[in-house]
Symmetry: C2
Subunit: 166 residues, 2 copies
Amino acid sequence: MRIAAKKPRSTRIRSPAPAAAHNLHSLADQLHSAAIHLLRQLRKEDDASGLSAPRLSALSVVVFGGPLTLGELARAEQVKPPTMTRIVTGLEKDGLVERKDDPRDKRLTHIESTPKGRKVLAAGRAHRVERLASAVGKLEGKELAELSRAVQLLREVIVSMRGEQA
Amino acid sequence: MRIAAKKPRSTRIRSPAPAAAHNLHSLADQLHSAAIHLLRQLRKEDDASGLSAPRLSALSVVVFGGPLTLGELARAEQVKPPTMTRIVTGLEKDGLVERKDDPRDKRLTHIESTPKGRKVLAAGRAHRVERLASAVGKLEGKELAELSRAVQLLREVIVSMRGEQA
DNA sequence: GATTATCGTTAGCCCAGCTAACGATCTCAG
DNA sequence: CTGAGATCGTTAGCTGGGCTAACGATAATC
């Protein structure tokens, strides 16, 4: 955070905000902050397309990951089944996915994307990308490559955290 | 409206794919996904300290940014006043911050951190950092520097998005 | 055939976001 | 000095995401 509101004049104590993250403390803080604020920004876009971040994320998995059961989807998204039930219900209500019973094992519910779901996802993505592109377009190509590289690292970090369970 | 040059090919991206972000579409997607999953992981830690991500974030601003009004805090955190009212109420109930009336303008409410608030923030941070450190410790020093650098870029991107209205 | 395991849902809780509306206060025109 | 308007924070009420606990239906196993 540390995005001082309105009076940046009397530069306060605070650890050097614009400086690089010299240690793990500030790196963790800044990463945390960046994630929160990025999602808050993205939420606004998501609202425009009627898709919240969790729904968008789940829909993306269904569209690109092919049909899968609710439980698999919950695990993929790292949430508990009841949570995924609600997300899927929301997506289904909007006609973006469909529940299909498994003929062999009637306990299972397969989640499939509908044509509308794929269409909306593409549109929502384009919308978001357009916005991010214009923001990212101000970075130089080199910086963009750095950012891209860092996202890879981030993914590793997340997987690592996930493995060791809290 | 500047439309991204290329349509999303039906490249199977799917979450677990470690492929590089060759274009803005996938970069945006991966960034989005990374942010969501990072916060979901962090939430578990936050729960341990009894502080949700938004509360932790707000507390951090109060602690490092000094006393400020509720409205300023809401703007700093990019949320609406009613939302901040509730966050502050939660923090106050836990004794982490205090509301102070302004003697000159009785409409204003100043938010101050308490000693306990500062202590808890430090503890929570340490807790989170320990976790992130162990995850990040698997990266090489060079990678760590890259990640640090990228966080800077991310901040610029976020500010940029914020500036241009949603 | 009875027990046990698995899957998804329901119920019920808490928190985070929003808008709309409101009371209290301050400001300022007249 | 007074009354209209602006500003601030709160309350009320909605949506939605996250969880645990408990449950019914179905499979698997003994």
